[in-house]
């Protein structure tokens, strides 16, 4: 059980760093989702199922859906033409 704890915590740290480091917003949200899922397993291992249910429903489910909707709203998830423009601008 100790090993599982350590693996989950390391995974969470890696995910948290990746969320801050990545420049792709969509990838950041998905990584955040994975971090929330690992967090809910950690809550179960810490014997607090209340928080685990809430974390799984809110952290990994609804909040990331809301973030996807927000990304769509501010056009951070690019449409077809825009992505090509972006690549040209970066060159």
């Amino acid at each position: 059980m100790e090993a599982l704890n350590i693996i989950l915590l390391l995974f969470m740290i890696v995910c948290a760093v990746a969320v801050a480091a990545t420049r792709n917003l969509l990838a950041a949200v998905i990584t955040f989702m994975a971090q929330g899922l690992a967090m809910s397993v950690v809550w179960i291992l810490l014997q607090s199922p209340d928080l685990a249910i809430t974390e799984a429903a809110v952290g990994a489910g609804v909040s990331s859906i809301l973030m996807f909707a927000a990304l769509k709203k501010i056009h951070a998830i690019r449409e077809k033409g825009e992505a090509e423009d972006d690549e040209k601008a970066e060159e």
Binding site: H75, G81, D85
Partner: protein, 317 residues
């Protein structure tokens, strides 16, 4: 044209984020807006990278010199280091995790473990604490959710004041790639939505007996509603869930919570009998106010989740 305007709005918002409120005054914004037709389809943030762009230079210059100076970086580093040191110190002084004497140190923990069941009638101590002992905290949290929806409504209704036709066209454009009329998704949603809703209600109704409660159950309910809305058209969900429903359910729930909790605290603080029986702990109809309060919190959370999603998606309710 419509899309360009959206980009324009977005770019000015980004400018505001990057440069603060004062850096871009009205004239500059107008100047930027006038230049838009020359480079269609591109956002101004990209344009600002080119040094040849005059207005962007003016907007960027003072901030850039400020942010690149050595003392600014040193200050930022010092603030970050101080914050990290503070947090590390705080973590270091917390009771050691899993140590044998941690529980004994805290009288409050002991009190909760011993008295929650007989005083509140909740088998699940967490629910007993958050809805009975700390009822006002939960009231505040529920209101925070409601205020969040109100804020989003205010922010997004800037779009709503535009031309009615334009707004509708915008919504149609955004919903173009939505998987409506997808038979596979619709069959799955028809099968799954009732299950999800029943599971959410189960979590809420069993909040005082088993792990769960208003917040988690409400989030599950909201997720089920979002799934249903994604699979079917808005028209179908608007048969039973509109802005009016949201308004009435949220306001009535918050009002009931406030009144019930206020009555409970008033009688309790004055040593009066509140006439709310606790019942036998372990039954589904027990715990006094816990069950209705759980339901009320669940309703507010579900409405909030669905309302936020709908407003981001559609721009209105």
């Amino acid at each position: 044209m419509m899309k360009k305007q959206k980009n324009d709005r977005f770019a000015s918002f980004l400018d505001w984020l990057e440069n603060g409120g004062n850096a871009l005054d009205e004239e500059m914004q107008d100047a930027l807006r006038e230049e838009e037709p020359e480079a269609p389809g591109k956002q101004k943030r990209e344009k600002k990278k080119k040094s040849s762009d005059k207005t962007a230079d003016i907007a960027k210059k003072p901030r850039k010199a400020y942010a690149d100076s050595w003392w600014y970086r040193l200050l930022a580093f010092a603030v970050a280091a101080a914050l990290i040191w503070l947090l590390m110190e705080a973590v270091d002084r917390m009771p050691r995790f899993g140590a044998a004497d941690t529980l004994m140190d805290s009288e409050l923990t002991e009190f909760y473990v011993e008295h929650t069941k007989e005083e509140t009638g909740a088998m699940n101590i967490v629910t007993g604490i958050i809805l009975n002992y700390r009822g006002f905290d939960t009231l505040g949290e529920t209101h925070v959710l409601f205020i969040a929806v109100c804020t989003v409504l205010l922010m997004l209704s800037i779009y709503g004041e535009q031309d009615e036709k334009k707004r509708l066209a915008q919504g149609a454009l955004e919903r173009y790639f939505e998987p409506h009329h997808d038979v596979i998704l619709q069959s799955a949603a028809r099968l799954l939505t009732p299950l999800i809703l029943i599971f959410g209600l189960y979590i809420i109704a069993n909040g005082h007996l088993s792990p769960g409660g208003g917040f988690s159950g409400g989030a599950v309910l909201g997720a089920g509603l979002i799934l249903y809305q994604n699979a079917f058209e808005y028209r179908k969900i608007e048969k039973f869930f509109t802005y009016k429903t949201f308004k009435w359910v949220s306001v009535c729930s918050l009002l009931f919570y406030s009144l019930a909790k206020g009555y409970h605290f008033f009688t309790g603080a004055n040593h009066l009998d509140s006439h709310i029986s606790i019942g036998t702990p372990g039954n589904i109809l027990s715990g006094g106010l816990l069950l209705p309060l759980n339901f009320v919190v669940g309703c507010v959370v579900a409405c909030t989740m669905y309302a936020l999603f709908t407003m981001f998606r559609k721009g209105e309710f």
